[in-house]
Symmetry: C2
Subunit: 146 residues, 2 copies
């Protein structure tokens, strides 16, 4: 069952979200979407807060713009993460083993899917697939290191 | 001791590199540099191979360009990974605990350092620090999921 849990701030509030889609594949994908989407949205919030503090003024127009940007970027990060988690899980099931090659396959498919979905031409889809695979492999290696 | 090990291809050749710098901090940083640098270089190799196959011709000039690009991009990816691994290890030692906050701190410092090293202005350094922290946190969450 996907458990999205975040904690931060002075009092460390913790939010737990649990949704069961009745299928491990869907559960993982939804969990990745929710978790990484939140990280993406929080990134925009932190960046806009810095800009506000720097400028020293808060306007309601700017606030609306920030909220919209948070939703947009959160959805984008969440989609990328959801596709990646689903594809890595799929690769693991098909290959029957857990190693860094799953990350490579998952990252490559994610890069290709996201690139194809944004109407890139064929060359760019392949290049993005290679880049996605490389980034996922690098993250997998870093994960063993730390 | 850092062990860099890669395997791939039909016969799955394995290369093991072991270098001991006599210090866990330096070992981790060097290991991250070597591993992720190789991934970055291989990404360029794969991309250029695709372009060659697509065009259907190989020229020696292009090959030299590819080699140079592999070195440059490998060094860049390696540096980012080395700084990140070192900073995450540092954060773990200072904070005395292992959780996703180390990734956040490591990613933020890495973003700031790499951005400052490329002579960005102050605003951009802060934004890159936020982005670095967000990406590292997202990768850490994904790692728990998969």
């Amino acid at each position: 069952m996907p458990r999205s849990s975040f904690s931060g701030g002075i009092a460390s509030p913790t939010v737990d979200v649990m949704i069961d889609m009745g299928n491990p594949f869907l559960n993982l994908t939804l969990d990745g979407f929710l978790k990484i989407g939140t990280v993406g949205a929080l990134r925009v919030a932190a960046e806009e807060t810095y800009h506000c503090v720097h400028r020293g003024s808060i306007s309601s127009h700017k606030f609306e713009h920030t909220l919209k940007k948070m939703c947009k970027e959160g959805a984008y990060w969440g989609t990328v993460a959801g596709v990646y988690v689903g594809m890595e899980y799929g690769a693991e099931r098909v290959r029957g083993s857990r190693d860094w090659k799953n990350a490579l396959i998952g990252g490559a498919i994610t890069g290709a899917v996201i690139s194809a979905a944004s109407n890139d031409n064929r060359d760019k889809v392949v290049v993005n697939a290679i880049t996605g695979g490389a980034i996922a492999t690098a993250a997998e290696f870093l994960n063993y290191l730390t």
